[in-house]
């Protein structure tokens, strides 16, 4: 089954980036308590991203000509892993570095590459992904936001929702309808780069159940954009979005979202001196699953490095990975609650509860569990 996905080691040349990435991660770590670090890729700190850019740790998969590191997906894996392992705040560059930049590189015009890529590599531009709409969640082909040609370029009307970072964002890469209607489904969809400072754009942050506001609704009321706002080919939006999702779904962020909690709990066991059979078995189980998921994520990275678009394999890793991320707060909570007389320090308590409350999002963001399983089933020839 899916034999292309096989165990691969990280190339030594890319491993060499680890100490530098670690230095940055440690620096971020020093300032932040674990429940803040547990925010991991929702942690927004633009200064941190700029420093990473200056150190050459962003845009590692991009060519030198655009300010990139000309190294490839394995190098990015190493750097991302170091940052996520401690929950460094990566949100300010995350989406641009992971998927907007490769999308612009692969499908954008030369002018678009020159405009956006060097600034992304410097950690200066915040991108967001405008796919979801109130009526188009899992059913992405149902997007209604429309871009119409004008004499000067494009005019956009409609609404996006759940847009991560829209309130901090410079640009949104939006999936919009450029011809036909919702009945045309995947046909007539295009991707367009929207300047979020353009007149007619309104961004309204949405608070989540943990008290954070990391995503937003975005309204477009006669937003005028230049002709070169279109990215890639008109009408090719669906194919482009599919390629983009392979980048979005395969990375270590689909494994490491709760890893700060795992470390905090391990530290707790050590502090209270508890090594009972149940705790050891749970710690061992979580460690073993983490190791295999890491190997699977690296295997996916190897497909990306080989120039493929491992959409099905990435879905498989994401579904298994998010189940693991959700198992961490559930089982660690059970372990701690099984020992009610054991003092739990406030940091661990907050980390546990934050992770517990946000955990449902792990299997929603980037495509829900059911949708991913549908993609896998299609890959197995069942649909």
């Amino acid at each position: 089954m899916f034999d292309a996905l096989t165990f691969a080691a990280l190339p030594a040349g890319d491993e060499a980036l680890r100490p530098l990435a670690r230095q940055f991660a440690e620096e971020a770590l020093a300032a932040l308590p674990p429940d803040i670090r547990a925010r991991s890729w929702s942690g927004f700190d633009q200064d941190f991203s700029r420093r990473l850019g200056a150190a050459g740790l962003l845009g590692l998969t991009l060519p030198k000509a655009y300010g990139g590191g000309a190294r490839g997906p394995f190098a990015r894996f190493v750097v991302v892993e170091e940052l996520l392992a401690v929950g460094a705040p990566v949100a300010a560059h995350w989406i641009a570095d992971r998927q907007s930049a490769p999308l612009i590189l692969n499908f954008g015009s030369e002018a678009q590459r020159q405009t956006y890529l060097p600034a992304i590599c410097r950690g200066e531009l915040v991108f967001c992904i405008g796919m979801s709409e109130p009526g188009a969640g899992s059913d992405l082909a149902g997007v209604r936001t429309r871009a119409e040609r004008t004499a000067e370029g494009w005019r956009v009307n409609g609404q996006k929702i759940w847009t991560t970072n829209a309130m901090h964002g410079d640009y949104m890469i939006a999936l919009v309808r450029t011809s036909g209607g919702v009945e045309d489904r995947r046909a007539g969809l295009s991707q367009i780069i929207i300047d979020l400072k353009a007149p007619g754009v309104t961004v309204r942050p949405i608070a989540d159940l943990t008290g954070d506001a990391h995503f937003a609704e975005v309204f477009f009321d006669n937003v005028d954009l230049p002709a070169d706002a279109l990215i890639g080919e008109e009408g090719e939006g669906w194919a482009q979005v599919t390629a983009e999702l392979a980048f979005e779904r395969s990375g270590p962020e689909r494994i490491y979202s709760s890893v700060v909690l795992l470390d905090a709990w391990t530290e707790h066991l050590r502090r209270v001196g508890r090594a009972d059979g149940a705790a050891l078995a749970l710690l061992g189980e979580l460690t073993a699953r983490l190791a295999v998921l890491r190997a699977m994520s690296i295997a996916c990275t190897a497909r990306l490095a080989a120039g493929e678009s491992p959409v099905v394999e990435a879905s498989l890793v994401k579904d298994l990975g998010t189940a693991f991320e959700q198992a961490l707060p559930a089982t660690i909570g059970d372990d701690l609650a099984a020992h009610p007389d054991e003092g739990v320090d406030p940091d661990l308590y907050r980390t546990l509860l934050y992770t517990t409350h946000i955990a449902p999002s792990f299997s929603l963001r980037g495509g829900t569990r059911e949708i991913l399983r549908g993609i896998i089933a299609r890959g197995m020839g069942l649909r």
């Binding site: 165990f7 392992a85 066991l269 189980e285 460690t287 983490l290 295999v292 890491r294």
Partner: protein
């Protein structure tokens, strides 16, 4: 390497077709099957070249072990490979006995249930701090239908060699992990094919979304099992405890899930003796129980992990993944 695997696949297809597997399970003589496998030379795959073997690494042999799982081979082929290696690398090398050798670790005088021992001529048993060779006669059937495991009560005599570094069980565990991965991947393909053919309510059951979701989980577990097994064999021999533990823990967990989904999707036909599915699901459960299941290895891994002050990702990276340098 892939030529190698192709040759091995052909060998298994000829020597151990499923009707022959069934016959051996039912107690038929397995000598012909064994002779074909022995004549191939694969049994010395892990024996160092200096001692007349092929000198392959665990990582190179892992695909062959998976093939054994894929074919539900009822004889201790992988076990014999490990036994012949251990005898060859003993401080005073031991000439291996002819015939299949099954593996066991003897605790405190307890009876041993030895997987794949039905056709074995010898047992290689780790007891105390030595390796013992015993004749595989005098065992008792487990009483489980179609089981090729055998129950022995073992009294250690003189060891033929000291226990190898890293112990027998870690080596056996990565073998079981690969057998599980092979059977799990085969079952997944088999089950997907069945779901595409079986029609109920006027369409193939594989068109039912509820079933597709089950199948996707099965594929995830099967792929995870394969990669876990690869990880367990990647660091060389003996497999370091954390790597062996990871491989056996994740594959054992997957074995139970994959077997359950395979049966669920097949419906009643899956549990009928005549249908091939059960050859593989029974093996999965056997291999899950053999040489420590997920809880056993999780505890050992948990203890090793807790004793190490590294962060989780660093621990995984440095203790479970093979060294990069």
């Amino acid at each position: 390497m892939s030529d190698f695997l192709d040759a091995f696949e052909k060998l298994l297809a000829n020597a151990a077709p499923l009707h022959a597997v069934r016959a051996v399970e039912a107690g038929a003589d397995s000598a012909a099957m064994w002779d074909a496998l022995a004549a191939s030379g694969f049994l010395d795959a892990l024996v160092p070249e200096g001692r007349g073997g092929a000198g392959l690494t665990l990582a190179e042999v892992q695909p062959l072990w998976m093939a054994l799982g894929r074919h539900a081979v009822p004889l201790p082929v992988g076990e014999t490979m490990i036994a012949r290696m251990l005898l060859a690398i003993a401080p005073e090398p031991v000439e291996p006995p002819q015939g299949p050798i099954a593996l066991a670790v003897a605790g405190k005088g307890a009876a041993l249930i030895v997987p794949q021992a039905q056709g074995a001529a010898h047992l290689l048993v780790e007891a105390g701090d030595g390796l013992h060779l015993a004749l595989a006669s005098g065992g008792e059937a487990t009483g489980v239908a179609g089981d090729v495991a055998v129950r022995f009560s073992f009294t250690p005599g003189e060891p033929v060699a000291p226990s190898p570094q890293g112990g027998l069980r870690a080596r056996a565990a990565v073998l079981r992990a690969a057998l599980i991965a092979g059977a799990a991947n085969h079952l997944t393909a088999m089950t997907a094919a069945y779901a595409g053919e079986r029609v109920q309510f006027g369409k193939a059951i594989g068109r039912q979304q509820a079933l597709q979701q089950q199948m996707a989980v099965m594929a995830e577990e099967a792929v995870a099992a394969r990669i876990a097994s690869e990880l367990g064999c990647a660091a060389g021999c003996p497999p370091p405890l954390p790597a062996a533990a990871t491989a056996k823990s994740v594959t054992s967990r997957a074995a139970a899930k994959v077997a359950a989904i395979a049966h669920g999707v097949h419906g009643a036909i899956g549990i009928s003796a005549e249908y091939d599915l059960q050859l593989f699901t029974r093996r999965l459960h056997q291999w899950r129980l053999a040489d420590g299941g997920e809880r056993y290895w999780n505890r050992l891994l948990g203890a090793a992990r807790l004793a190490d002050g590294a962060r989780s990702v660093d621990y995984v990276r440095t203790a479970i993944f093979p060294n990069q340098d």
